[in-house]
């Protein structure tokens, strides 16, 4: 256990689902017991099914590592964290964590609306494991970070929800354990606060602390984690370099991320759309692109015969469905006759790096000719993500270009 901060071996957690509702009355429980002889053994077993929320999960985390735990909803991420936090016990397996370990599964646990901000800081801090001396020492810092100095002695119920979140996070941000287990707590507050929280998380992560970070926010994972673990249906299906793990996670999403195969023909069978995909700087097909890198969107299609004036165009939409840009092969006069020639073709367009704001984008694809109109028009043909690594972004901008600034 020399430099290992967390060791997990064959951890498993089984839950009973079905009739076993989360609370029963004594009457219901008695009724089940009384009627069970009549229902027979078989029916009693099938009444409640068992599922393994986690199975055979094993990994090690070295001291100072920041590891991201990702996966779809229901993959077992939160269950894993709950077991490591000791909120629930495993059904099988073993885990070891060096002390002190603190967890952040929620911000503001223990907050009571009738108590003042000051009182809630002490209460929440104590609930999270801080000693009174520690809270005394950090009190001013916590209040400063939260930005609610003026209201620190008013009851919490007078605070706006944003203020409450800021106060809660301020307390949480001042935990100083050797190991920190964090679950999705960055998904609270407005974009500006989320950004500040991310910054603080970066400080915490950089301070030699070991962090296990569960999140759906791929930008955060890519920014903070040196390593990632991918869970699916309770099992580890990927481990290692963050970019690779994130990439394989995004590829498996139901939305066509990175690549989509179509193989569809238009009505006249003149143009067949084969596939569309995004490639990074090195021409590898992947759905996640770093902010500063230029990247490519490629479309493969084939024509049965020459189509005059054929053009391939695409529009990018961001997650708010705002159309960000429009580009087409017709922008390049040298391609005009070549695009509609008979045969199989691949067109690709290079989008400059340091331009698009981090986030997810959807490609609207169109293949058009003056004679026919749209041979193909697909609104969400393929999607990709710009990862906000090394860029300061609030997350709701349309563009985030890196421009020249002058100091005069």
């Amino acid at each position: 256990m020399s430099d290992i901060a967390v060791r997990v071996e064959n951890l498993g957690k089984q839950y009973r689902i079905g009739e076993y509702v989360s609370y029963q009355t004594l009457r219901e429980s008695l009724m089940r017991t009384i009627t069970s002889p009549f229902r027979g053994r078989r029916s009693q077993d099938s009444d409640s099914e068992y599922i393994w929320a986690l199975k055979d999960v094993s990994f090690e985390v070295k001291q100072g590592e920041v590891v991201g735990i990702i996966g779809r909803n229901g993959a077992g991420k939160s269950t894993l964290l709950k077991i490591l936090t000791r909120i629930t016990t495993p059904t099988e397996g073993y885990a070891e964590i060096i002390e002190p370990v603190r967890s952040l599964l929620e911000v503001g646990t223990g907050f009571h609306p009738e108590l003042t901000g000051r009182e809630n800081i002490y209460l929440n801090g104590a609930v999270m494991g801080m000693k009174k001396r520690e809270i005394d020492r950090k009190f001013t810092e916590i209040v400063e970070f939260s930005g609610v100095e003026k209201f620190i002695d008013t009851p919490l119920k007078r605070y706006s929800s944003g203020m409450q979140v800021r106060l809660a996070f301020a307390v949480a941000a001042h935990l100083e354990p050797k190991v920190l287990l964090v679950d999705e707590v960055l998904a609270v507050g407005d974009a500006e606060f989320q950004n500040r929280s991310l910054g603080k998380m970066r400080d915490i992560a950089g301070g030699g602390r070991t962090v296990l970070f569960v999140s759906h926010n791929m930008t955060a994972i890519l920014q903070l984690c040196s390593r990632a673990i991918l869970l699916d249906s309770g099992k580890i299906v990927g481990q290692g370099d963050t970019r690779n793990v994130v990439s394989s996670y995004l590829k498996d999403s139901q939305i066509p991320l990175g690549e989509k195969v179509f193989n569809i023909s238009d009505e006249d069978n003149t143009v067949e759309l084969l596939r569309a995909y995004t490639m990074d700087n090195n021409q590898s097909i992947r759905p996640d692109i770093l902010y500063k890198d230029p990247f490519y969107i490629a479309v493969e299609y084939q024509t049965a015969s020459q189509v005059d004036g054929l053009r391939v165009g695409l529009r990018l939409h961001n997650e708010q469905n705002v159309p960000i840009l429009h580009t087409a092969t017709s922008d390049c006069s040298n391609l005009e006759s070549l695009v509609g020639a008979k045969g199989a073709h691949r067109v690709k367009v290079q989008i400059p790096g340091s331009l698009l704001a981090p986030g997810r984008y959807y490609v609207e694809l169109g293949i058009w000719s003056p004679g026919v109109g749209h041979h193909h028009h697909i609104t969400e043909a393929v999607a990709f993500e710009i990862a906000g690594v090394d860029v300061d972004s609030v997350g709701d901008e349309v563009l985030r270009p890196t421009l020249e600034w002058d100091l005069l």
Binding site: L26, I83, P90, T91, I97, V101, L123
Partner: protein
């Protein structure tokens, strides 16, 4: 028997390790762990005390009013109307002396039995020994008790029952009340997580228990042959003990003895039941 979450010293590094493994069998009562979380116990109790009378005009006066008004009602109906014998002690003093430990007990039970369910988010999101929650429920009413006790001493002087050195016996008796309330509270709070009927049954349970205890009457009214069974109610011995310590009635020797045994049994079984079902609290709540 494996223990969840125990710390042991590590050979290589200086920091202790938390070990996590499936809990099988009966969990030991981890008093050391509870001691290390004593600050949290303090804060949770402090919170309960602070919010109890927030936004009320009367504030802490309620702590005095409740047993006082009960005493008035009891005096009118049991003392005067029904003429319940009160061992030559003025009825108001007779019943008020009993109401103090009684209120501490019933408040403690009422609060601790819903302590787990009422703090769902904490149970689901943070680790701490769950025992702390019912314990804070039992400790919170002690402030009310202290305030009402001052009134009691005032009443004692008023009726000419000056306190003697026996008043010191109130301390061990109060601790006994804590023990009883804790034992019952542990059982009820743990069962309530799974079967919510419990929290609905509490008011009724307390009503019945009130009349099964010598609050409005003296235990000497109970026929000799039933005294032993009567003593199984741990509050019987305690209340008579309070009257003896403050007002100089008969010492409740045999009653107290049976009470103590019952209390210890309830407490130990309650603590073990609680610790055993603790591992699935987060799943049930």
């Amino acid at each position: 028997m494996s223990r969840q979450g125990h710390n042991r010293e590590n050979n290589d590094t200086s920091s202790p390790i938390t070990v996590i493994r499936p809990l099988k069998g009966w969990a030991l009562l981890n008093l050391r762990e509870i001691w290390s979380y004593r600050e949290l116990l303090y804060f949770l109790t402090w919170r309960d005390v602070k919010i109890r009378y927030k936004q009320t005009v009367l504030g802490f006066a309620w702590a005095i009013l409740q047993p006082f008004l009960m005493m008035v009602v009891f005096t009118l109906f049991f003392g005067n109307l029904l003429n319940v014998p009160s061992q030559d002690i003025p009825y108001p003093l007779f019943s008020y002396t009993a109401l103090l430990p009684w209120t501490l007990f019933s408040q403690g039970i009422t609060r601790s039995s819903v302590s787990l369910v009422g703090n769902i988010s904490m149970v689901q999101k943070v680790y701490f020994p769950r025992l702390i929650l019912p314990l804070s429920g039992i400790l919170a009413p002690v402030i009310d008790f202290a305030i009402a006790f001052v009134i009691l001493v005032g009443m004692m002087f008023f009726y000419g029952y000056a306190p003697t050195v026996r008043i010191l016996m109130v301390i061990p008796l109060t601790l006994l009340v804590f023990l009883i309330a804790s034992g019952v509270g542990l059982w009820l709070s743990a069962i309530n997580v799974r079967y919510r009927d419990v929290q609905h049954a509490i008011p009724f349970l307390m009503q019945v228990w009130l009349f099964a205890s010598p609050v409005v009457y003296s235990s000497s009214l109970v026929p000799q042959k039933y005294q032993a069974i009567y003593g199984l109610n741990p509050m019987a011995g305690v209340i008579e003990g309070f009257r003896w310590a403050l007002l100089g009635t008969e010492p409740p020797s045999s009653l107290i003895l049976i009470s103590c045994i019952v209390v210890i049994v309830i407490f130990i079984t309650g603590a073990y039941y609680f610790r055993n079902s603790e591992k699935t609290f987060a799943d049930w709540v």
